[in-house]
């Protein structure tokens, strides 16, 4: 038995024999072109077949995201510039297969040079190229095995065309040698609910048929395991699935310590969905959607109506509404902000109120009016607060508007370090882990290659969360987490152990988080929290809780 480690990108356990994606045909020696027109026709027909095949897969896909990704891929294969390059190649004396190869290579180089998001799309281009080359050579398109029994699929990187066709009766888990947390493999695995590990070096050296197990949370892959080990993992996975399906009601540990499970919403429609998903309330109501694309600020009445819709959907429950989070990288036309040299460090969030106090005043008045008209428990918080003075000023404005509960987001280290002082002037804190990671590690959230720094299991981030949790305990006030970290079932007990009193996430993530909390006592949560704070790195931290 050997152990390999990658990055866990889709939670869950799986086990079975490992099978790889069918091999890509090797390019034959270049051949002379006798009939240019016929050769062009052959190349175009191969590309057209790839486009048609992707279209058929998109039609079959039951998941809307998967279908959309496949259609986008089909558009890449159907590209007029690509066909033009192929035709030029053939007219220059290159045969169809090599002309296709060369045309894709040009775009591949451009994508790679661009880096970031486009570099991760290189796998899509390679897949299209391989399919077109296979068709052109009269071979079957490379693809996913269909052995008729459950297995773990291995590949260098999965293309959407592969993942879309996965039969969940057969494929129980995914392991790729390449890919990052934002690659298509990761996104689609989560959409399909399949445990997945990416960036697992060495997986391609494992022979087909070898029994393996994988943990989509920790990224650990065991190879050469026994059939009993596979059975044990499968039993554990189905038990976990059952626990998730059976979970309902308020969030709590197995010994009854309450951790409120809330939903992140942006509209009344979201709030209705969250209410039916058994959310105890809304932990983050983003109001910026109402302001986007507007050349003029939405008026008081329009704001009242929009807020009331969400409050009404959550009648009797808590709704934490965040005042306008915009500026800099989220520019709003009506604010007329000039370009800033370093937008993430610019005038954004509550800082906008320094220049435009009227925007905040109007918004608070609208929230207060909407709150009176419904019986939701409305809490108000400000984004991007850095100092106690800012927090005190905001709380005064909230209270002046007649709203009883004022809080602030913890998104910068300065605020986390002063959590207890902040709780001296506000009623609650809510930690935005995405931004807090960004500012703690000086790593732009938009840069895919920095994803490991933005891992919510980074001990430094957890230490800042711990400081906030301790402040909450000391003052007896509520400290919640909203953002990516709150939706990770494995992290939920750790956060509870750090003193976090509520978790807010997309409604879809609620059941798994609820089940995970219910599987631990508070004392266990506290022990896990202490262990994780002591971990060397995210990988070790994940292992400690598994």
């Amino acid at each position: 038995m050997a152990e390999l480690t990658g990055i866990g990108v889709s939670a869950g356990l799986a086990g079975g024999p490992l099978l790889r994606i069918a091999a890509v045909p090797a390019l034959p020696e270049p051949a002379p072109v006798a009939d240019t027109a016929a050769e062009v026709e052959k190349a175009f027909a191969a590309l057209a077949e790839v486009v048609a095949d992707l279209g058929r897969r998109a039609d079959r896909a039951t998941d809307a995201t998967v279908a959309e990704v496949l259609r986008a891929e089909a558009m890449m294969a159907d590209d007029p510039m690509l066909r033009e390059a192929v035709q030029e190649g053939i007219e220059g004396g290159t045969d169809a297969v090599h002309a296709i190869d060369a045309a894709f290579a040009t775009h591949r180089a451009a994508f790679e040079a661009a880096g970031g998001y486009l570099a991760e799309r290189v796998a899509d281009l390679d897949d299209l190229r391989n399919r077109a080359v296979a068709v052109c050579l009269g071979r079957p398109m490379p693809g996913v095995p269909q052995p008729g029994h459950p297995y773990v699929l291995a590949a260098r990187d999965l293309a959407p065309a592969d993942t879309a066709d996965l039969d969940p009766q057969q494929v129980v888990g995914l392991i790729t040698a390449d890919g990052g947390p934002t690659s298509h493999t990761a996104i689609l695995a989560r959409a399909l609910g399949l445990p997945a590990v990416v960036s697992c070096k060495g997986i391609l050296d494992v022979e087909d048929g070898t029994l393996v197990t994988l943990d989509g949370t920790t990224g650990v892959v065991e190879t050469g395991v026994s059939a009993e080990a596979v059975d044990a993992v499968r039993a554990k996975a189905s038990e976990a699935a059952k626990a998730i399906a059976d979970s309902s009601g308020p969030g709590r540990t197995s010994d009854g310590h309450a951790v409120a499970l809330l939903a992140n919403v942006g509209s009344g429609k979201d709030a209705t969905a969250a209410a039916s998903a058994d959310a105890e309330g809304v932990g983050l109501f983003r109001t910026e959607l109402l302001f986007l694309d507007r050349t003029r600020e939405p008026g008081l009445d329009e704001q009242v109506a929009a807020y009331r819709e969400v409050f009404a959907a959550m009648a009797g429950r808590r709704v934490v509404i965040r005042t306008l989070d915009a500026g800099a990288d989220k520019p709003l036309p009506f604010l007329h902000q000039d370009g800033e040299p370093n937008p993430a460090l610019g005038v954004r969030g509550l800082r906008i109120a320094r220049q435009r106090p009227d925007v905040l005043t109007t918004q608070l008045a609208a929230i207060a009016q909407a709150a009176i008209q419904t019986d939701a428990d409305v809490w108000v918080m400000a984004p991007m607060v850095s100092t106690v003075a800012e927090a005190a000023e905001f709380a005064a404005a909230v209270h002046a508007a007649g709203l009883p509960k004022a809080g602030v987001m913890i998104e910068v280290p300065a605020a986390a370090l002063r959590a207890e002082k902040l709780l001296g002037v506000v009623d609650f804190l809510s930690i935005g882990t995405n931004d807090l990671s960004q500012y703690t590690f000086a790593a732009d959230r938009q840069v895919g290659t920095l994803a490991e720094l933005l891992d919510p299991w980074q001990p430094a981030l957890l230490q800042l969360i711990a400081a906030c949790g301790a402040a909450g305990k000391a003052t007896g006030k509520s400290v919640g987490v909203c953002g990516e970290a709150a939706s990770d079932p494995a992290l939920a007990p750790v956060l509870a152990g750090l003193g976090i009193t509520s978790l807010s996430m997309s409604a879809r993530a609620l059941p798994a988080v609820r089940a995970s909390l219910a599987a631990h006592t508070l004392a266990e949560c506290e022990r896990l929290a202490a262990a994780v704070l002591d971990a060397e790195d995210p990988a070790q931290a994940r292992k400690l809780v598994s």
Binding site: E68, M75, M76, M81, Y117
Partner: protein, 94 residues
């Protein structure tokens, strides 16, 4: 030549879904439309690969250009599409 300067409004930039919707619309236009970012070469707006390679993010300014009958109407509707947050809108086949 008629042109329109527009700021990309989609949260994810001119990637994935927003790019697909834009390229589809450009391909359906009665005139050939090009799209350009900064000093880079203008590329055909009906080419998914070329549009993706622009690497346009939310807030990036792009220039659309077209010539011929219906150029102005086509540019207006494409500019309108680009300015919207296409990520926030419901998938058509949802």
């Amino acid at each position: 030549m008629p042109t329109r300067t527009v700021t990309v409004g989609s949260a994810s930039g001119l990637h994935a879904r927003p790019a697909a919707l834009f390229v589809q619309a450009a391909a359906a236009a009665p005139v050939k439309v090009t799209i350009q970012v900064g000093e880079k070469r203008a590329v055909p707006a009906n080419s998914m690969l070329s549009v993706l390679s622009l690497g346009a993010k939310k807030g990036t300014e792009v220039v659309l250009a077209a010539e011929g009958d219906g150029a102005d109407e086509a540019l207006d509707s494409l500019a309108d599409l680009l300015a919207r947050d296409l990520d926030a809108e419901e998938p058509a086949n949802g």
